[in-house]
Symmetry: C2
């Protein structure tokens, strides 16, 4: 793993190496105020269409617009309702139309200012309008900064499932202003933190140990927050560079996600009950416990994962989800239908040790079923 | 230019060289009957969703389905209305949904059976469902065989203009069965032929001379038809391999298209009045005449182009379009709004000789205006 670079303004840069499509992720407090300058440097004369959601528009749009004005970057803004339900066809259609109506050309840029919802939807718009415009991400949730803005997956949901329609499309630049996370509700911050912890758990025990020691400062917003975002981006960037189109190693990023997605699906994506990162947290806990049940992982490691997730306030058991949950058989059916299932075989990310996850194909359905039954009866 | 390969069954293959995304275009009479076998060889165990239009379904769908059955390839079919108006959001949405509803996975294939409309729409569906499925083109119009199925441009129209939303997405295989063209109405065959002639005019005088000598056999369906399709595909493949994302040389393929698109737009894409290839034919004639007016091209070359387009029955003058046409100023405005205009400059494909086209940026607006006035008053 290469290490993030720190420049004089305590701004860090992670480079995502993808040949001609390589790009930088800049990380630091107050970067939003430098957005205009950075965009003008990267894309001289480009015009910009900002896509954001209503909540983020109220909090951070003016700062971005002012920064673009100061750098003489011509811009328009389009605002969508906040929330997962904006990742749908009608809004994709409307935004493509809006961007074309504003007469933006191929060399002009779409700027996504928001969380993963805004990023995923805007990225698909950027990929599709004129078969590809410039795309810049300004992620404003922790989840978006450490996960969804890195790696080039964009898309919308279909009635058959989440993220089923979209494109692999890389941004030209990602600006992660860690100060904008100060306005994020604690629950959303925690949910994003589950993905941060994931990078330690899947492949970097020293990072997990660092998080155990420094998580309070990450939540509080000190330099440790920048550090955690940078290390997470670097971890994802390394995996993406090795496997852009998700053939192999990239699957490790799904640690906790097979169970997690099933839980999200079981509550019909009702975010009052469960948000993605909470599902991931429970899913990671289950993946470690399942690994232990299979004789792969020590009890001590399981206990250590549990302790950390609990201390940051994340849910770790299916029973932590408010309301009635379906029985084990139903959860198993949902898992079997998941898009990560290849030709009917069950694939799981299991682990031998904290920081040593691996992809296991052809996991026995009956064992998963028994495990889920135990967990639900516990 | 590399040359197409001929195998023992008088089937020709053109290879499109795009690194890991390279693929073959197979050309020959009766290939539709080998589709099942070829698909099964290329993508063992893949399931197939055929997308076609109502007209083509009536003529050629059964043959394809039988061929898939014979090769034990599992398939479903989705039929859209024939015609340009199917290249729209609602159908894109519906088809993505249909394909997902049929539970196709990433390794499964979308097969486009039809003309450019089916190919462009299906290609965008294939690019987008699960962020990219396998894609196979079985083009059934001459235009689709020599142009739209080669090069990876896919997409739909927006109310702001044609092909404004889509993806660059390469197929895994193109099967051009030249016998299916026998059911094509003469007008559509001729329109496709304009694109064939274009390859000679833009970069290959010997091919244009060959067409002057052999066009009757191309229309009649002899081996010359296969030859013309193969040479055209090879010409486009060479350009695409050199410039996949349309930065430079690929622009030459727009010979005749700047004027042609303006004419299509002026009749509001009413295909009763003008189909794309007819617009290209008139546009190519205008591009040559404009080149002559600028002192670049000889009168003899202009006369030679005119003679050939006339003898195959293609329109060559704006006045050949039935109904009232807008004045020169309006046409010029349309040209200036065309998406191929880069930051307000007028770009044209001009020519020094038959077979020697080049991209000219920054063409003087006033000269184009004067030229169009002359042509409309002629
Ligand atoms: N593309 C990928 O690789 C990838 C990876 C993981 C998740 N995702 C997607 O990301 C989405 C979830 O992302 P998310 O959790 O960021 O959701 P989100 O975009 O819905 O943001 C969560 C909430 O926080 C609000 N918000 C955003 N920034 C804020 C700020 N600075 N202050 C206050 N409120 C703010 C939003 O308005 C929203 O209500 C899902 O759709 C998921 O599928 C994509
Ligand atoms: N992707 C590209 O690079 C590219 C290049 C050029 C054109 N195009 C697009 O291609 C489209 C035009 O393609 P087209 O001319 O093939 O139009 P089309 O697909 O509408 O086909 C023309 C008509 O012929 C019918 N048809 C098709 N095959 C037939 C057959 N074998 N026998 C009888 N009827 C048949 C169709 O039903 C339709 O009515 C336009 O939308 C244009 O934008 C795309
Ligand atoms: Zn996640
Ligand atoms: Zn054309």
């Amino acid at each position: 793993m290469t290490s993030p670079q720190t420049d004089t303004n305590a701004q860090q840069t992670v480079r995502v190496e993808l040949g001609t499509r390589s790009y930088d992720i800049a990380i630091g407090r107050g970067l939003l105020y430098q957005a205009g300058e950075k965009i003008a440097n990267l894309l001289p004369k480009a015009r910009v269409a900002i896509i954001t959601d209503e909540t983020v528009a109220g909090l951070h749009l003016q700062a971005l617009q002012a920064s673009l004005d100061a750098a003489d970057v011509d811009h328009v803004s389009f605002t969508i309702p906040a929330g997962e339900s904006s990742k749908r066809f009608e809004l994709f259609d409307r935004l493509c139309d809006d961007v074309l109506g504003a007469r933006l050309e191929r060399g002009d840029a779409i700027v996504a200012l928001g969380g993963g919802v805004v990023g995923d939807l805007s990225g698909f718009v950027a990929a599709s309008v004129r078969r590809g415009m410039k795309f810049i991400q300004i992620p404003t949730t922790l989840l978006a900064q450490v996960d969804s803005s890195v790696g080039g997956k964009t898309g919308i949901n279909s009635r058959h499932g989440k993220n089923l329609v979209g494109a692999f499309y890389q941004p030209a630049l990602v600006l992660a202003d860690t100060a904008v996370l100060d306005t994020l509700p604690l629950r959303d911050f925690r949910a994003g933190y589950a993905e941060v912890a994931k990078y330690g758990l899947l492949g970097d025990e020293p990072f997990f140990a660092w998080l155990e020691a420094n998580w309070q400062a990450v939540f509080a917003g000190g330099p440790e927050r920048d550090e955690a975002v940078a290390r997470s981006c670097q971890a994802k960037a390394d995996v993406v560079a090795a496997d852009e189109f998700e053939g192999g190693r990239r699957a490790l990023l799904n640690l906790g996600h097979t169970f997690g997605h099933a839980l999200e699906s079981a509550v019909a994506y009702a975010t009052e009950r469960l948000v993605h990162g909470e599902g991931v947290s429970i899913g990671m806990m289950l993946a470690h416990e399942f690994s232990q049940k299979l004789g792969l992982l020590s009890e001590d490691d399981v206990a250590r994962v549990k302790r950390h997730l609990l201390e940051v306030g994340l849910p770790i058991r299916i029973q932590d989800i408010p309301g009635q949950m379906p029985p084990a058989d139903t959860l198993l059916d949902i898992i079997a239908q998941d898009k990560k299932v290849s030709r009917g075989e069950l694939t799981f990310i299991l682990t031998r040790k904290i920081g040593e996850s691996f992809v296991e194909k052809g996991v026995d359905r009956a064992q998963v079923q028994e495990f889920l039954k135990e967990k639900l009866d516990a």
